[in-house]
């Protein structure tokens, strides 16, 4: 079916029309976000069936709760929030836990004083532009992501991949902005560390003279 809505139609317009009972408007919203949600779920879960479950649950939930959506957050943030909850739920289930709580108590480690210092510092052998095209790199990227704790991974994906602001990421995950910032910093530093161990040029490794471990 051809999409009856031009691309410039805002999400808010589509939401209004969907609420009024226009199936086409709801489908247009789904078409706009399904790939992003599926991609986020794949990066969180690395398993197709689980990613499909998250995607379908997300849009069923959007349909179920649309009337209650007041537009305080943007539609995209709201959808990403629903998907984040669904993905975390699966991760918790895998770990044998039943509770889902995004608003976890801030851990003692979630402050700036305990941020690990960079250890392996080296220029990379190749530019990202070269690397993006290589399949091998995708595997490396995914593996590095998987090694992140899921709450750091989710913050990184929403902020740096989905492009939400710190405020929006905080809204989506029901966290404080300060907490988002610390988690983001941890995620970025850990990914850098991990990727540098693979992509760094050992010949161009730098040693920090005042490193705290030395």
């Amino acid at each position: 079916m051809a999409n009856p809505f031009p691309p410039e139609t805002s999400d808010a317009d589509l939401v209004r029309r969907a609420k009024a009972g226009e199936l086409d408007a709801f489908e247009a919203l789904t078409n706009r976000y399904e790939q992003r949600i599926y991609g986020l779920a794949m990066r969180m879960l690395r398993q197709e069936q689980d990613a499909e479950d998250v995607t379908q649950q997300t849009f069923l939930s959007v349909l179920e709760n649309l009337e209650g959506f007041r537009g305080e957050a943007s539609f995209s943030t709201w959808v990403l929030r629903i998907a984040s909850h669904a993905a975390l739920k699966i991760i918790r289930k895998r770990k044998g836990l039943n509770t889902v709580s995004l608003e976890e108590v801030t851990e003692p480690s979630d402050n700036l004083n305990s941020i690990p210092h960079p250890e392996f510092i080296a220029d990379w052998r190749q530019s990202p532009e070269h690397l993006v095209e290589q399949n091998e790199v995708r595997r490396l990227l995914d593996e590095a992501l998987t090694r992140l704790d899921e709450k750091h991974r989710l913050v990184f994906l929403l902020r740096d991949v989905e492009g939400l602001s710190v405020r929006e990421t905080a809204d989506a995950l029901e966290l404080s902005e300060a907490n988002v910032k610390v988690r983001l910093l941890r995620a970025r530093l850990q990914l850098r560390e991990d990727l540098t161990r693979v992509l760094g040029d050992p010949a161009r490794q730098l040693v920090k003279s005042h490193h705290h471990h030395e």
């Binding site: 069923l60 993006v132 990227l141 730098l206």
Partner: protein, 107 residues
Amino acid sequence: MNENCFANKSCNFRPADGSVIKEINTMKCEELLAMLNEYVDGTVDPAVCEEFEKHMAGCNPCQVVVDNIRKAITLYKDGQPYAMPVQFREKMHDALRKKWKEKFPAK
């Protein structure tokens, strides 16, 4: 790509004569680490940004770390997205239409 300090002309500290700056490294690596997010995202205060860049001009490891982080973000952002399987998409849209009809039986 995020806007960043490098693109912001109001904050583009470089030693004019190309010399290596040693004595003005007032910011410590730890302080740089604490502001790294804001710097990479281009949301750091211009005065702080200048300090940040002064530090990097005299501290190659910090410069490389910042560069690595930017590259890492670019890799993830520009990486090939996962394509949703077509069959699944059709199945999901069917399920959504069915649910829609339960919700809006008259339409």
